[in-house]
Symmetry: D2
Subunit: 336 residues, 4 copies
């Protein structure tokens, strides 16, 4: 950690800062420049919060040298983490595709979609039972019944299931769920993250609409430091000024996250674009950029879907997409 | 609701759309333009989700005519809602200022700050017991003990207390809390919002970092439709590309929200700027633009604060700010 | 164009609006809804500026039905436009790669880089002679001498040259330049765009840092409506809150632009990421998503480059990238 | 300037970096931390471009200590710059308001508005002759004739005139213009900025839609370093995800710019909000936050305005605004 002192800092202010720093158990290496004095902090600065020291009157600016995430940091864990879910694995040589409807709507619907996506090569089934909707008047999901229907589809097809949790109180219902998803709006719901750290289940952690990659890794760190290292990161688009797409898909996040962290990173082209016909080209690009898998919304009748129909593709379109995708995945050295 | 049809929509696609719309219980008024056909939907369209219809193949675009929020909408409730908290009131002729430290740190600290801000004219005491921190390694608040210390400060000074909730499970601890705050990161924690709808307490709902004003009102609608109409909205800065300030304070949100809704709207210049010396000018501007009050971070020793010291002002600076602020508030016809 | 009237509009206000609309030469189709009245405008509304009508007191909101760009619109020109530059062509079955240094620095430098990138398969040479730099104290390019050196490299290698123009007054110096680039900061320098409409040369038009895709097409429309239809669009990253990369590369812009317009669209992974090692994965993703080519910064000694060294790759890295890229391009049905 | 070295940098890489730094004429102060080595550069680092050094393989990160703007920097020029225009002055104890139509449309219009705004207390007249419009099909201004009409209005009322330049070639027409405006889209049109540095006229420099405050000051630096120190900065809203307003007005920019620089800073609530009724509350807030003046769009018939009618206020509304504004301005110690 490096502290740049104010030009006109008084000796008293500098002395106070010096004693504040020593109280944190680190020593100071001082550089006197022509116009500026700089303190280099030597020792374990990982627990020091830069913002806290910056209220000191002698401080002009503070720059961190070490990343604030540790368990998620590739520097301390150079090999890829590989997370096994049933027969699928994330972060290794495979490229698992998770597919299914935005919301579980009925037994017929989820079984039909599950069979179809399995036949096309999907390795896991997604489906929402608890739906975070902007409007309190919109369909909120089938809740407990939705999870029951997902487990029926799992029994029928053998596909592990992925579904979203919205509150700690729902956790008991997730006993048969294979991967618990944390949605973009809950990426910084820290109490929920801590609770998920107490489960042994893989967590699919989506990037928030306005969250930096460092913040995403800090949220992974919440789960990991609470005891659960099975975190799968997911890029699903960020919010910008552009309105032609629902969100702006930040594909550079994928190689950047993989250089910062050893955790697997998958992509969600359905939410990132919000438009059914864009899912296929963005899925190809996600594979090409080095993603570890995909999550895609598939509905047997998008025009009648109870949520997100606009971005859902049909089972037939999903089948075509999987065929189209295979050679791109193979070029990156993975198997779909 | 207005639906613009695709130029090349087939008669079958249009027939399917027509029957989908009729199934929703509304009728269609058709306009044939030179290049375009438009459907105007007549009837109660308030429960129709535009995104759902947009997956229909005949649809080019859909425009809503009515706002999706109802209970929060000024059109259906022209007078200001006034929310009483102890002797303070939000939304009427008063301009209550909420002040106190970011985190409750000790009995001495909270009592000292509470007495000081009361003497300067603050009408409510703020202080965090549960702290949402980006890092799992940062100070997370004193939890139950923090709330106990806040109630001691309330007994000592008579100031009603405002503190943040992060999870439904914490609700039992909030029995003596006067105003429950929902932080920016939880603005779309819908399960929490619904639970708060079941309390009779005033809710201070902060705008999320990347949330539109419409989304903020939809979150207020969650609380209101669950039975609690006492919602105070708060602008606290949004996330943009600018890095000179912690966030970008959107002061235009205040008059705009007050035109869209009848709910009170206050401003948080501390989080919006993240810089202690900017709190005062932005507090003046908040008053001038028509805010219904302020929430300000005050710490007895910002350089030693366990969180957000950089944006906290001293009791002396707060006292000066309140004196400076008074004539601006009075110009807007309110009393501080 | 569709106009939603205010609920409480007076008959006089509505009459005034009606006459304003009739004065524009279009007729009105009126829909009376339960709570709302809507005017559908029938006739040629393409020249009507929605913002201008919206100042009318009876107007609640206006929605456009037709896109405001015409010459660039794929609806009126379904086939791809193919732009030929020397032996390369943009927008058809080829995938030309433009490569070269950020700035032209010396004869040795530009000749060495030109030969190297040609040997690796680049089809055009880029190099800046006029450099838009944030700081007036930074290297501003070699100007006229820079263009002279580029033409030497063109004679030496046969590669057509691409270089940026910053001002109308520089146009005379561009006689031997094959493709004139308009940088992101000048995307809405409308006087420059009009002037470029008077040249017969292909224009490489980069998206501005905060410009929507519609605005990019409107800028293309400026050039096209002034007489020059040879416009190549370029996605080069937009400005967001994320700081891990220099910009956020919006790859969804590529398929979206190609659906909105018939113009060729290329990608610039160097500026979009600002980081040398990210150029390769983002180049692969650009090919996979359907781009019509790339523009890449290559420098013989990035650590000593006078500008943008951080995002420049070496000739050896460029050679490896081209080999890596080929199969991805071929999967999309193009030839590199 | 501070350089953080990569953990695994080789001695050869470090030696190369060392020699590169010495070649720039500065010396190195080295700090060896537990996990990290840091170079503090001592000497005149103001001309060193951090990005250029960062391509060196040994470099992990570079942090600047000094601001890159010098002539605009308050550190080297502690007193406010006061710019005199006719009888008005910017940056001192006055609060001049510039008012007038978006576009000059006719002699009658500009004379009528000029007389009205003068009577209400405006100190300068604005009016666009060259209009930057997103669409090539929109009204582009009266050009030379527009400037002629502005000078007639100046003769009639005595008000100095402010109008926008879009291209260096237009400069000859600006001989009688008192303040030359650079619009948001041209904030980084560096060739234009350099040319304006050669005039002796005050320049009104608007912040770009996606430009940081530092970039705004760097653009001011272009004008100042070319010989013209009379630069008035203007906050006019930035582009964010929010769509309820045309732009997001960043009022915190005003005190922040005034702390970074000695130049005057004014506010443009018309463009910042895009909505006529919001101009008044945002004008009050601009005064309260410490702006040095305002620029406001006033039109005698907003519903028939050829541009920006939606955000234009009538002369009567402007008169009311000026009366409303006066006490807020006086509270800040200025005179309107």
């Amino acid at each position: 950690m490096i502290i740049i002192l104010k030009k006109n800092a008084t000796p008293e202010q500098i002395e106070k800062l010096t004693s504040d720093i020593h109280a944190l158990g680190v020593s100071i290496h001082k550089i006197e420049g022509e116009h500026t004095t700089v303190f280099g902090l030597v020792g374990d600065t990982s627990r020091i919060n830069a913002n806290d020291l910056s209220a000191n009157e002698a401080v002009e600016a503070i720059h961190r040298v070490q990343e604030p995430y540790k368990m998620a940091n590739r520097k301390f864990h150079p090999e890829n983490t590989v997370i096994q879910v049933g027969e699928a694995s994330f972060g290794g040589d495979e490229f698992p595709v998770i597919a299914g409807p935005c919301s579980v709507e009925s037994e017929e619907q989820i079984i039909e979609v599950a069979r179809a996506v399995k036949a096309s090569g999907a390795k896991l089934l997604r489906g929402g039972a608890f739906k975070p909707r902007t409007s309190p008047y919109a369909f909120q999901g089938l809740h407990e019944e939705g999870i029951r229907l997902l487990t029926l589809a799992k029994q029928d097809t053998g596909l592990p299931i992925v579904t979203e949790i919205m509150s700690i109180g729902q956790l008991d219902l997730f006993a048969d769920v294979d991967v618990i998803q944390v949605g973009a709006r809950n990426m910084q719901n820290f109490e929920l993250l801590k609770a998920l750290g107490g489960t042994g289940k893989p967590i699919l952690l989506k990037r928030g609409l306005a969250n930096t990659l460092e913040e995403l890794l800090m949220s992974a760190e919440y789960i990991m430091s609470a005891g659960n290292e099975k975190v799968i990161l997911c890029e699903r688009g960020i919010r910008t000024f552009e309105t032609a797409t629902r969100n702006t898909m930040d594909l550079s996040a994928i190689p950047m996250l993989k250089s910062m962290s050893h955790l697997p990173v998958i992509a969600d082209p359905s939410h990132a674009t919000g438009i059914a016909w864009m899912v296929e080209p963005m899925a190809r690009a996600s594979a090409a950029v080095g993603a570890d898998g995909l999550i895609i919304e598939v509905h047997n009748n998008p025009a009648r879907a109870l949520s997100d129909g606009k971005q859902s593709i049909t089972p037939a379109a999903f089948d075509a997409l999987m065929k189209e995708l295979r050679p791109y995945v193979e070029l990156t050295g993975k198997q779909i």
